[in-house]
């Protein structure tokens, strides 16, 4: 298992675990609760058991994944909290 953020462009993997991403939100504008981030990425189809393909990982900055038919850009911090298993 390795964090999603370490996949190289072109590699495929299966999601094994999504660690809770608890962020502190202090501003009243932002109604997010801690733990909601995990819910949000799951709602976008990034779930345990899913196959993903790394489309663009420049080593720094956000990365781009393909999950099913959608391309999802994701911050690096979050990608490091998603554990995957490389596929042949």
């Amino acid at each position: 298992m390795l964090p999603l953020g370490l996949l190289v462009s072109g590699e495929q993997a299966e999601i094994m675990e999504i660690k809770g991403c608890k962020g502190a939100h202090s501003l009243d504008l932002e109604k997010e609760r801690p733990g909601d981030e995990q819910g949000r990425i799951e709602d976008m189809g990034i779930r345990v058991g899913k196959s993903v393909q790394m489309l663009n990982n420049g080593g720094r900055g956000p990365l781009l994944l393909k999950v099913d038919e959608s391309r999802i850009a994701m911050g690096r911090g979050m990608a490091m909290k998603i554990m995957v298993r490389r596929k042949g």
């Binding site: 991403c21 962020g23 502190a24 939100h25 202090s26 501003l27 504008l29 932002e30 109604k31 997010e32 609760r33 909601d36 981030e37 819910g39 949000r40 990425i41 799951e42 709602d43 976008m44 189809g45 779930r47 489309l55 663009n56 420049g58 080593g59 720094r60 900055g61 956000p62 781009l64 999950v67 099913d68 038919e69 959608s70 391309r71 999802i72 850009a73 994701m74 911050g75 911090g77 979050m78």
Partner: protein
Amino acid sequence: MSTMTEERLQGSSRAALRAEKKAITVGVAGNPNSGKSTIINAIAGTRLHVGNWPGVTVEKKSAIFEYGGRKIRIVDLPGTYSLSPYTQEEIIARDYLIHEKPDVILNVVDATNLERNLYLTVQVMELGIPTVVALNIYDEAEKRGHTINRRVMEDMLGVKVIPTVATKKIGLDDLLKSLLEVAENPSAHCPKHLNYGDDIESAAKMLETQIGLTPLAEKYPPRWLAFKLMEGDSQVSGEIKPDDSGLSVSKAVGHLKTAHDSDIESIMADARYAQAFGLTREVLQKTESGNIELTERIDRIVLNRVLGIPIFLAAMWFVFKLTFDVSKPFADWMSAMTAGPFKGWAEAILGLIRAPGWTVSLVTDGVMAGVGSVLVFVPVIFAMMFFITFLEGSGYMARAAFVMDRAMHTIGLHGKSFIPMLLGFGCNVPAIYATRTLENPKDKALTALLVPLMSCGARLPVYVVFIGAFFSAHAGTVLWSLYVMGIVLAIIVGICFKKTLFKGEAPMFIMELPPYRRPSFKSLMIHTWEKGKHFLIKAGTYILAVSILIWFLLNLPWGVENKKDSYLGKVGQIIAPVLEPIGFGNWEAASSLISGVIAKEIVVGTMGEIYVAKPEDEKKNPSTFSEDLKEVGTSFVHAAEDSAANVFSTVGISSLSSKEDEKRAGLKAVIQKTYTPLSAYAFVAFVLLYMPCVVVAIAMRQEFGTWKWFGIAFVYQMTLAWGVAFLIYHGGKLLGIGG
């Protein structure tokens, strides 16, 4: 039919009555980029009305039209992936569905991405409201070798499933027919109860029975409410306080919790996803095509590590250039028209009715000048909205955010914020409006606060006059230094705000990059118009009011001869001491700066009024009405030609070629006597930084629904302006420069 009697009608008679009298309400739900908007645009066309959801700045699109002899009211809900309460969009969509109870839900599903879209469908079905599913982008799915068995899908869901291609208007007639059919006979098209497994179902059943005994059953769909209570949905629990209603939630979920050893929310999410997965497996057949999609091929270049940023900057340069080059001739035309023929006509009409002199001045210098300053913004706003709509519609906007994300992180912002900032150099007003492309309210607020530090075009005339008077030898460098000052301060202020007002982790960055699509001209036009119209109406009225106010301040008390004795002059005298430490403590400067709140270029105009005695009314031959009319027409044609020419010339127009009329030359002479080079530089720096103009204020108010952010901008900018001017003036003095 009064609501009183309507309320008394129950059951079928009520439904029948509704069928006859009331419009059918259709709520449109779907994932972002599922083509919801395209469907609505195609169906509603120009009847589309764009407003905001109450209290928030999320766009609300709706339309009323007739089809098959029935009135249909269609409401577009924000695009969401789920109906959980994670984001503002989700809360809006679900509040609408629960509390407004549309007659029919139109669930738009992206046929190319079935599983994830069905996850939302599964949740929509929990509401028990009659539903029609549109399998949109069906052609694309077929092209990729996907076949969807729609009969099986209809059987499994219990609702109608209609394949559509909104961009080509295929299937829309079927869709509308189905909507009518469902509205006529709602009970036959209520979605099936999908079985979430024994543990969940028995817990839900228990709660549903309890809910059925309370008045809550009237207000909420019981099955949905049971699910939400089980999940411990914070919003729902807050609304109904289950303990007060005598609902024993913990008892109902007790078994579920022990049996699954996980939190209920995840159990439920998994159950729903299992449904979406199962449905997809049953109805979808894929034949893999080895083709790499066009979108992916474009992305390989556009998002390339090396090429990404240069391509983005080039794209932005084009947008920026096109916006201002296309709009500038029209803006010039508008201002020339309001200052020339229109003003002349107003004077002539007022002369005919023998209006007293002060009314003439009020109308021409107050009202018409005010209207003029609004109209001048119209071309640039519309041009900007057009290009932004294009970038969004084509799918590039999301890529821009991706590419710029890292660089913008230094000031706690996302890549998407770069676009409004850049636009700010042209005009801060559209830049503020452009912040609506940022979903996160935090990013939006911080971006809007920093936008006014980008030196807009309206500040240029002020720079030109002062630089011309003092630094003509180094005009370019001095001008450049002002722009750079704005950028550097934006970075510093951004970091400060991030550490104070916007404390906490940078918000999570996750967004879907839609496939590239060619936006249809019609939808571009509709959206541009809707966005621009908003500005025209709202901003127009405010600017007008402020212009009139300033006019009064400058011309009261009646018959004031010397501007120093006018109210504006008096206020200027009061404020002047505050400006003393920063090098220009005279009432003339103070009064000009006050008038600059309408638009910063007005500073120059007011200075002209104050410093330079009014030139004797040049007796130019009064032109006839028909001559004027001809002038209006021909100059518009010239403007259109210039605009078209600018599109093709890369050199473009040089905005610095301000007309050196005599008045301005006179003004320069006076300024040279009143200011030193140092205080002049302090003054232009002050003009760069001090409070944003009224139009920006209105834009901020409109975008955020509160004056709070403008208030913050006002305070920090005033402080910053004063501080920086002080540093320049006294720092310079200490160093012995230009003192």
